[in-house]
């Protein structure tokens, strides 16, 4: 009978090191034996639920909790007043702003947290929410970022001393203003567009939640949480709650998707912790889907005005002005020095003469957030902008969009390339990747088919995007979050039997770390992946690091694991030299074994070296026993994966319904540790890109009511909307990464929305004169564009 071990397999390879290795973590998930947050039950545990504001902007006149407290299953009802006594009514955000944990004076977005109920069970907690009476005095709401700075706009953050308007973050600039002005002056062609990247939401399938378990006797706070950055959270809680950091332990459960949604510290977490500290029992809080969509970290919401110029058929300059809608509190996550994240990579993959970017952030009466959903710190917004502008320029120049890109690309000989906005791209051969995509797509054939279809009145579009992004934040001299350096650690222990445990700072939410990080150790040391256990997610048992987002696992944690493995290998060399009675420089390495150069029969396998390291036998001079090593890795730079994407869409000429018929994605993420996992990451991101391009959006009416607060109206693609993706690869190693790997998790979200929107416009430009459309390209919005009335989303 077939079992997991001996089933007939398409490939029988079980690589030691890099390669297509099936995942170790599958064993529990395919049996339904994962441990997600809501699966955890602790003795004596009680349940929290949050009462949320129905208004986008309103004064709180009174809160009456008496009816809820009278419910037999309710243990407590917490309001801002109660939190004030603990100093927890407000908390700092990652952007150095403050955010209300529970609203006291005012509510500032629909869905904002107003009260926290603790009850014996979930159903009673939900019932109790109906029994809390809050009197509100509604105020006018601002939901349009463009209007947030109007002189008569209501002041949202009147809690902040000295705040006189709705500016969240003053204008931040990058690039060279004068050089850009010169480039535009000398250009022969200029195009201008107003481009919106609408608000959307990462919506992982598992919502956010926490179990806080404070032991009053020991003072230990145990937290269970699906959390992309557990160490950072621990430091934040220590600071916010005035607790001793060494007495806080965060254990990450299996996480049902993160995508940036599980990076922030949410008010619900703080309420659960406060509740447990006060009540002395474990408190569980798990949000429902409406709460997730209405109040947790959304993504994007950039209102952009851009100009691009060209000379002699080549792109020469770019100017971008952005209003960033941060919602009611500024809680975006990005390195301190970069309040607009990495948006200034908007110069893209092109050898520009100059570019200039300015971004200002505003408050609105909407949920806080902005940096999420595989955005690489705003690179999704930047690449969307530049790739849409390149296509706009192509229309103006009547040039093929691929040819225009090829003419304007940074050439392979120009790497490492310093962009006009301050980035140093590590390596790239863009034209080659673009050519591979064209070949897989059959680009010439597609253009022929398009012409034939157009003659028959059928609408077909081919859209291209080429992206360069920067991931793996980041070097400590440039990048910190809340003053914490964005370095990651790795801790490798090889046991006497030759089995190993590697503890890492990264935190998987499905990316396959339990397999890929074992593969890195296997590649470096020759210990089979099944003999390497990957530990992460427990702040007591893993080294300090800033977590997993911004595609940083491979570039930072992966590098750390490679470096620590090499440290162990170097130590093993010294021990092997003693064992073999030779000098270390006389030894050569083949995977898993040090052997004597010139006498290869004479060698020591890593397992033998490990046994020796713990034995009573003689060790090399000055060396302690054991075969362990620890490292903190400070990346010298970001890494810069890139890719060429081509989308083929068909549009029903009468109903304006868009179908993505084909999607070709050729990614260059440097060396691939496990190509199967890389492909899987790309598939998932492409589906998300299709969602963003065609159907995912969070909108509000004028009163600030959120119109997409359930999966009935926040639409996510099913298997029927996604084509059978066609993937290709080129491999241009990263020169500064120990493995030559770059990381890939966010690339598909970065590259796919502009390819699809470019395809929609390509389908409609000649026949209907469409030269711009904003996302999402729903049938109604596409139809309006076809009528000559493209409308921006609300």
């Amino acid at each position: 009978m077939a079992t997991l071990e001996n089933l007939p397999s398409a490939g029988t390879e079980r690589p030691i090191g890099f390669g297509r290795l099936k995942r170790k973590e599958d064993a529990r998930f395919i049996r339904g034996k994962g441990t997600y947050l809501d699966d955890i039950r602790l003795p004596g545990m009680v349940h929290g639920a949050i009462l949320r504001s129905p208004y986008a902007h309103a004064r709180i006149v009174s809160i009456d909790t008496s009816r809820a407290l009278a419910h037999p299953n309710v243990a407590a009802v917490v309001t801002a007043k109660d939190l004030e006594t603990l100093g927890l009514a407000w908390m700092p955000t990652i952007s150095y702003d403050t955010q209300a944990v529970l609203a006291g004076d005012k509510v500032r977005f629909q869905g904002q947290e107003v009260a926290f109920v603790i009850a014996t069970d979930e159903y009673s907690a939900n019932d109790a929410l109906q029994l809390i009476d809050v009197e509100y005095e509604p105020l006018p709401a601002i939901v349009n970022a463009r209007k947030a700075l109007d002189p008569d706009a209501p002041l949202i953050r009147d809690d902040k001393v000295g705040q006189r308007d709705n500016l969240a973050s003053p204008t931040w600039e990058a690039g060279e203003r004068e050089a850009t002005d010169r480039a535009f002056a000398e250009a022969d062609t200029v195009v201008t567009r107003d481009i919106i990247y609408p608000r959307c939401h990462p919506a992982p399938l598992e919502t956010c939640g926490i179990i806080a378990d404070f032991d009053p006797e020991t003072g230990q706070l145990d937290i269970y949480n699906g959390n992309q950055a557990p160490h950072a959270h621990r430091t934040v809680y220590a600071h916010v709650a005035g607790l001793a950091e060494h007495m806080i332990r965060i254990r990450c459960s299996d996480i049902g998707g993160g995508f940036g949604n599980k990076v922030p510290v949410y008010p619900g977490y703080v309420c659960a912790i406060a509740g447990s500290i006060v009540a002395g029992v474990p408190v569980k809080w798990v949000e429902n889907r409406s709460e997730n969509l209405m109040s947790t970290g959304f993504a994007r919401d950039y209102v952009m005005h851009a100009e691009m110029c060209a000379k002699d058929g080549k792109i020469t300059g770019l100017r971008v002005d952005v209003i960033a809608d941060h919602g009611a509190f500024d809680s975006t996550a990005q390195p301190t020095k970069f309040p607009a994240g990495f948006f200034h990579i908007v110069c893209g993959s092109y050898d520009l003469e100059a570019a200039h970017v300015q971004v200002k952030a505003v408050y609105t009466n909407k949920a806080p957030g902005g940096v999420a959903y595989r955005c690489s710190f705003r690179i999704t917004e930047a690449v969307y902008l530049v790739e849409r502008m390149v296509d706009a320029l192509a229309l103006e120049l009547k040039a093929d969009p691929i040819e225009l890109r090829m003419r304007s690309f940074i050439g392979p000989e120009q790497f490492p390339y310093e962009t006009t906005t301050g980035w140093t791209y590590d390596s790239g051969n863009y034209a080659e990747t673009m050519r591979v995509a064209m070949e897989i797509a059959g680009y010439e054939e597609l253009r022929r088919e398009q012409a034939e279809k157009r003659a028959r009145g059928e609408l077909m579009g081919i859209g291209v995007s080429f992206f360069t992004e920067g991931v793996g934040a980041g070097p400590r001299k440039h990048m910190d979050i809340l003053g914490l350096a964005m370095n990651d650690g790795a801790d490798l222990r090889v046991h006497p039997s030759g089995k190993a445990v590697v503890s890492i700072s990264a935190q998987t939410q499905g990316q396959g770390h339990e397999t890929t990080f074992a593969q890195i150790v296997a590649e470096e040391l020759g210990i089979p992946p099944e003999d390497v256990e990957v530990r992460h997610g427990d702040t007591d048992r893993s080294p300090y690091g800033l977590g997993t987002y911004g595609s940083r696992s491979t570039p930072v944690s992966g590098a750390a694991v490679a470096v620590v493995s090499r440290k162990v290998r170097d130590k093993a060399r010294l021990i092997a030299a003693t064992m073999l009675e030779t000098r270390p420089e006389d030894l050569a390495w083949e995977k898993g074994r040090w052997y004597v150069k010139g006498d290869p029969e004479k060698g020591a396998m890593i397992e033998e070296i490990a046994a020796r390291a713990y034995s009573g036998e003689q060790m090399p001079e000055g060396m302690e026993g054991g075969l362990d090593a620890q490292v903190i890795y400070d990346p010298p730079n970001l890494t810069y994966p890139y890719g060429a994407y081509i989308a083929v869409v068909d549009i029903d000429p009468d109903t304006a319904h868009v179908t993505v018929r084909r999607f070709i994605a050729v990614d260059d993420c440097g060396v691939r540790i496990n190509p199967m996992i890389v492909d899987g990451q790309i598939h998932g991101g492409l589906a998300e890109g299709i969602g963003i391009a065609l159907m995912e959006v969070i909108t509000f009416d004028e009163e600030g009511n959120c119109l997409n607060s359930s999966f009935m109206d926040y639409l996510i693609p099913t298997a029927l909307e996604c084509p059978d993706y066609e993937l290709g690869e080129t491999v241009t190693p990263c020169p500064h990464h120990p493995l030559g790997a770059k990381g890939v998790g966010e690339s598909p979200n970065v590259g796919s929305p502009p390819a699809i929107v470019n395809a929609v416009i390509d389908a409609l430009h000649e026949t209907h004169g469409v030269d711009h459309i904003d996302m999402p390209c729903t049938p109604a919005r596409v139809w309006a564009a076809m009528q000559g009335r493209p409308e921006p989303p609300q």
């Binding site: 979930e122 159903y123 939900n126 019932d127 109906q130 429902n288 889907r289 409406s290 009468d654 109903t655 304006a656 319904h657 065609l694 159907m695 909108t699 119109l707 997409n708 009935m712 109206d713 639409l715 996510i716 693609p717 099913t718 029927l720 909307e721 729903t778 049938p779 109604a780 139809w783 309006a784």
Partner: protein, 291 residues
Amino acid sequence: MQTPAAFEYERATSVDGAIASLQRLGPEARIIAGGHSLLPMMKLRLANPAHLIDINDLEELSYIRVDGDEIRIGALTRHVELLKSELLAENLPVFRDAETVIADPVVRNRGTIGGSLCQADAAEDLSAVCSAVKARAVIRGAGGERVVGMDDFHVGPFQTAVGDGELLTEVRIPLRPGAGSAHEKVERRAGDWAIAAASAAVWLDGGTIADAGIALSAVGLTTIHLTRAEELLRGKAPSDDLFAQAGAIASEDCSPTADGRGPVDYKRHLAGVLTARALTRATARAQEARS
């Protein structure tokens, strides 16, 4: 997850028993069959019935059969059965068209035709289907049965002719010669409610349309029955031009509201396009059936 408020529950063991319970418990009692309209509303606390009467054991209400010159469908028949039924596919292919695009395959295992019709959401597809095929609804109460046409069945948004203490038990569809039917729907994503949908049935006699049934989903407060378009078609020979005219009437005679699915002008446009398409396919099927 959001959870419903508390309620009392009983299982009906017979149709008359269910009706008796409805009478006894009054308007605070609701029937639950598939539950995929009612339970989501209860979780969101938009509906808070004090009593639920579960009729899922009433197998006698689940059937699709020919009875004389009618097809009769029991109210408890699940969407998946309507989708799979070869009897319906042969005689009234509009049902299979619609079921392919109603909700998703998993929901279709539970939802029922009775539940869909009684939910009376204007965006609901089967209501338009039943209107187009000239179906009649059988409503049973303590006093006996009455049979009601679709126009009278659909009273208003989320309101039907089924009164307190009554139960929809059956849907009856006439079988007449020369029939062809089709359903056309546009949605933002598979499984979504219609932005607009059109059901059309035609009955051909020789080269002309003897009778037609056309109804629209999601473009009014309730299902839109296009009587004016039907009148236009009767006695005429089918043609693209004729169907375009019917489409123009559809655009005029519907009353869509703007919402997340689309603005008014687009919905009117869709109503026209889908009416013409549904009529074209219905006619092709009728012509195929004859040949």
